[in-house]
Amino acid sequence: MTLREVVERLGLRALTSDVAGDAEVTGGYTGDLLSDVMANGRPGNIWITMQTHQNILAVAKIKDLAGIVLVNSRRPDKETVWKADKENVTVLGTNESAFRLSGRLYRLLEDP
């Protein structure tokens, strides 16, 4: 399933000006420890987290993640938005908790 479809089906908000909608979503990974995502995230995953600072962008780029979703209505730091736009990383937002969004994403990908 493409990122565009996931964004639509889960009602995610774009926090950056561009969404790499054609990216193929291979799954998801939920966590707030950067090295954990480095170790256990997979290319094409959506990363669900509450970290909002700019260092999340390097993680997404190095791991070739499809995008990052900030949960619990968290706002990204100013530098995060600016840098994400510059470096073409898709950052999305939701009012839902990490638990709920992870569950919905899992269900969507298992049974589209």
Partner: protein
């Protein structure tokens, strides 16, 4: 195609500079990707470089990274000026960290950095002089079947 490459690039890292943290690893990733190296190998090199880079940002004053490529291997060496590591065996254990509370709040300090390097490298050597600095030697084979 890859067999024709021989290159060497040097980069500087400043300790404590969280704004630029990750830049060197991303540059390394771009260089390797543009050479047409297998994306999975590029990713392993970038992950190892990132964890080494972050350790300089978090624990040292400054560091120098050199990326070298020959037809068989990617070699990433890093030397920093910093406090050094007094017990390398302990530092290598998953979960061991001396990160500050502030770093942990940002999601650093999982104590998985050195284990991540070990997992992604074909060879990883870590040397340190307490009070002087730490050096990392990371080797990744370009051809999985080939030797060093």
């Amino acid at each position: 195609m890859v067999s024709r490459h021989n290159l060497s690039h040097a980069f500087e890292i400043k300790g404590g500079d969280f704004g630029k943290a990750g830049c060197v690893s991303l540059e390394i990733k771009e260089i390797l990707r543009d050479l047409g190296i297998d994306p999975a190998i590029v990713r392993r090199a970038a992950i190892a470089a990132y964890e080494a880079e972050m350790n300089v940002v978090m624990y040292a004053e400054s560091g120098k990274v050199v990326l070298r490529l020959n037809p068989k291997v990617i070699r990433i060496t890093l030397e920093d000026q910093g406090p050094g590591i007094h017990d390398i065996e302990m530092a290598m254990q998953e979960g061991y960290t001396t990160a500050t509370d502030q770093m942990r709040e940002m999601g650093f300090g999982a104590g998985m950095g050195l284990p991540n390097i070990k997992k992604n490298a074909d060879r990883f050597e870590l040397k340190s002089k307490v009070g002087k600095g730490t050096s990392y030697n990371i080797i990744i084979h370009l051809n999985p079947e080939g030797g060093t």
